[in-house]
């Protein structure tokens, strides 16, 4: 199969209106999934320690970068330019990569991408692939598809390997095993890692890394096919870029004969020079390092060096749909650094699994429902999984105003359901009707105050311990205040009647 999947040129394919599918659909509404995760105190302790460590490290290295604000603005501007010229840049990328010896494929959604990659691997005759950590392949559920086709997949990123061995799903974009501590990781290795040397295996990080190294070494040397994603794809040159910490990605990218890279269409950068901005933004935001240990770049194939065949699968899977929303499209600027996860007070309490998608945390709450449409699974509950505290926007290296997009998606959700009866909408309408008119508002205040009077007699401290549903959710963990005996506006009216200024009397 070569340049352009069935059904026309890349540009024509991208106009197809298709929603995203795959591991980006929450099976359970967020509040229910969150409750399940909150029941695990070990998880919360692990998350708290890990997120605070990365958070602090990030703050340090960002703090020492004097032009951080400019870098962020540049990062956002470059990505906005990419989104504005996406079809043109994609074709430029395709031409440049093809000229350098790569084969470019287009996948409209997860199913197409899975089929494409499975066929490509089958075509090599290999029954095992090694993988570089990649969100795009997680998104489309590639490992599951390959396993079904009888192909063994070996994740080579340490944290990804832990999750794979544990038969678990990732809970963080960058640190998929963030929900495990060292002791738990040792147990997973001891139980599940083929050929592990139990005597040498302690829960010291060095011992765990050594065990993984031994296990992976054989796989690298025997692998004939590797699968990767890419952090960036340069339109000008057709270059792909992977940024990592361990060097295992580099092994996958250089040793096997065939390399298949699955790349979301929004990963493009116009020029090679644009990497200057992103290679400063990404490591600082992601791991809190000034520079990441390994940056691999490859452009097509080079005879006698590295893979002999390179396939690039450009993945839409709901990105074109997302691009159509002028407010929501900023989510496509995301470079998957995870800084927003690490500062998010909600993520810190519940972890990644509560979001039911490979994209957790604040970015997941705005990306998953946009890729799939709000009506997929329980994805419409994700934009409500935030207090709108704004910590994510503050750290995002490409200035995605996540709170703004969250509110926007809530609006889309509410508007999409205007036809259906809802007690919440009735309450919101009634409140709006009352509050826009002074007489109605004053009357409602009086009624609320009077309604509270008998309660006030019963509760000495002026606080309520249990309210009826739905406000029982409030009083499950907090007391509720009662309306005051006298509203502000009544006080003001009385005071005005008595001649105006502050009279020192302050009783409610």
């Amino acid at each position: 199969m070569s340049g352009g999947a069935p059904g026309g040129t890349g540009a024509q394919r991208r106009r197809g209106d298709r929603r995203g599918h795959g591991n980006i659909v929450a099976p359970l509404p967020f509040p229910a999934a969150a409750r399940r995760e909150l029941g695990n105190p070990q998880l919360r302790a692990n998350l708290r320690r890990a997120t605070h460590t990365i958070r602090d490290r990030r703050a340090r290295v960002v703090g020492e970068t004097p032009d951080w604000a400019h870098l962020r603005a540049a990062g956002a501007a470059i990505k906005d330019d990419v989104l504005a010229r996406l079809p043109e840049l994609l074709e430029q990328f395709e031409a440049a990569a093809t000229a350098a010896g790569a084969t470019v494929h287009w996948a409209r959604d997860a199913a197409e991408a899975r089929a494409l990659v499975t066929d490509l691997v089958r075509g090599t005759g290999s029954a095992e692939v090694v993988k570089v950590k990649s969100m795009a392949t997680q998104e489309i559920g590639l490992n599951e598809a390959l396993a079904e086709a009888g192909i063994t997949v070996v994740e080579t990123d340490l944290a990804e390997l832990i999750v794979q061995l544990a038969d678990d799903t990732p809970s963080h974009i960058l640190v998929p095993a963030i929900h495990y501590n060292r002791r738990q990781i040792r147990e997973i290795f001891a139980d599940r890692m083929p050929g592990v040397d139990l005597d040498a295996l302690t829960d010291e990080p060095a011992a765990l890394a050594e065990a993984a190294r031994r296990y992976l070494r054989d796989r690298f040397l025997n692998a004939r096919v590797a699968i990767s994603g890419a952090n960036f794809a340069v339109a000008e040159t057709g270059t792909l870029v992977v940024v990592e910490s361990e060097g295992n990605g580099r092994m996958c990218l250089t040793l096997p004969e065939t390399l298949i890279s699955v790349v979301g269409v929004e990963k493009l950068l116009p020029t090679f020079r644009d990497l200057e901005v992103f290679l400063q933004l990404l490591p600082r935001s992601a791991t809190g390092e000034r520079m990441n240990p390994y940056t691999s770049m490859w452009t097509g194939v080079t005879p006698g060096d590295g893979p002999r065949a390179l396939h690039v699968v450009l993945l839409d899977n709901g990105r074109t749909d997302t691009l159509a929303d002028p407010v929501g499209r900023q989510a496509l600027r995301c470079i998957r650094c995870s800084a927003c996860l690490n500062v998010c007070p909600v993520y810190e309490r519940v972890g990644g699994h509560a979001y039911g998608s490979v994209y957790p945390g604040p970015i997941g709450a705005i990306l998953s429902p946009q890729l799939t449409g709000l009506d997929a699974g329980a994805n419409r509950s994700l934009p409500y999984a935030s207090t709108l505290c704004g910590a994510c926007f503050d750290v995002c290296p490409v200035r995605i105003d996540i709170p703004q997009v969250l509110v926007h998606l809530r609006q889309r959700d509410v508007d999409a359901r205007r036809g259906q009866p809802s007690p919440e909408r009735m309450a919101m309408r009634a409140l709006s009707w009352v509050m826009r008119d002074r007489r109605r508002y004053a009357a409602a205040l009086r009624a609320a105050r009077r309604g509270a009077a008998p309660l006030r007699l019963l509760t000495a401290g002026g606080e309520v311990r249990r309210l009826p549903w739905p406000l029982s959710a409030w009083t499950s963990s907090r007391d509720a205040p009662l309306p005051a005996a006298r509203t502000f506006r009544d006080w003001w009216a009385e005071r005005t009647a008595h001649g105006g200024r502050e009279d020192g009397r302050d009783q409610g």
Partner: protein
């Protein structure tokens, strides 16, 4: 200066003492406070919950009510943030409303902004001989960027012992309807915030937003009743600033 008070709907009904405190502080400093009676709710809950259509009439009511005042003050970080950040977005489709919003927004101030930036005051002449810790609510911290304005005001209060709140920048878990829609997560966040507050040994926790304070204060009072630690009282910082006058 003639200052219009936007007391906010929550304060009007639930926390009128905060509104009275603002009046007292400003009058003590020699300013005139007016209370335009047509005011209602800023529409924050509607807008943040996705009810744009229901929020718009409230935006209109606000800009009509406060048009023409030299300065508008509100003792609520989140309501001022709503006006400043969300009103221009909500009004975007309606040129007349957008113009009215643009006209009024620059004159709407959170109390500490009015005192420190507009009136140039940090010492309001109050006394409050207690240990106090300050929680800089998310809207105050990250939307309005109030910075140390409320702290400067509190530090100038006689007898007040201001202690740092560890993890102060972390959200308390209120988040409007979040507190009800995601009650379990909200409670988990609240528990951590309350523990941090109790650990300071403060007798009061102050903030710029009574909604967050109702959530925090409700948690502290519930926990104190269940036997975990001394009761810490939640109080709007305006009420501290309105404390007994110590000099003319």
């Amino acid at each position: 200066m003639r200052v219009a008070l936007f007391v906010t709907c929550v304060n009007d009904l639930m926390f009128p003492a905060t509104g009275r405190a603002v009046v007292r502080v400003l009058e003590r400093l020699g300013h005139t406070v007016e209370f335009p009676a047509a005011q209602g709710c800023c529409g924050q809950m509607h807008a943040n919950s996705g009810y744009r259509a229901e929020a718009l009439p409230l935006v209109r009511n606000f800009v009509e009510t406060f048009a023409g005042y030299e300065a508008v003050v509100a003792p609520s970080g989140s309501c001022v943030a709503m006006v400043r950040e969300a009103y221009p977005r909500l009004a975007a489709g309606d040129p007349d409303l957008a113009a009215a919003v643009n006209e009024v927004v620059p004159r709407v101030h959170e109390l500490s902004e009015l005192l420190v930036d507009v009136l140039g005051v940090t010492d309001v002449g109050a006394s409050f001989p207690h240990r106090v810790t300050y929680h800089p609510t998310c809207h105050g911290l990250r939307t309005l960027r109030l910075g140390d304005r409320p702290l400067r005001l509190l530090r100038a209060v006689r007898g007040l012992d201001l202690v740092d709140l560890p993890g102060a920048e972390e959200c308390c878990g209120f988040g409007g309807t979040f507190a009800v829609k995601n009650a379990d997560v909200s409670s988990a966040m609240l528990a951590d915030k309350c523990a941090a507050i109790r650990d300071t040994g403060a007798a009061y926790v102050a903030a710029a937003d009574n909604s967050c304070l109702a959530h925090i204060g409700g948690g502290l009072s519930r926990q104190a009743r269940l036997g975990s630690g001394a009761p810490v009282r939640a109080v709007h910082y305006a009420e501290i600033l309105a404390g007994p006058e110590v000099h003319p």
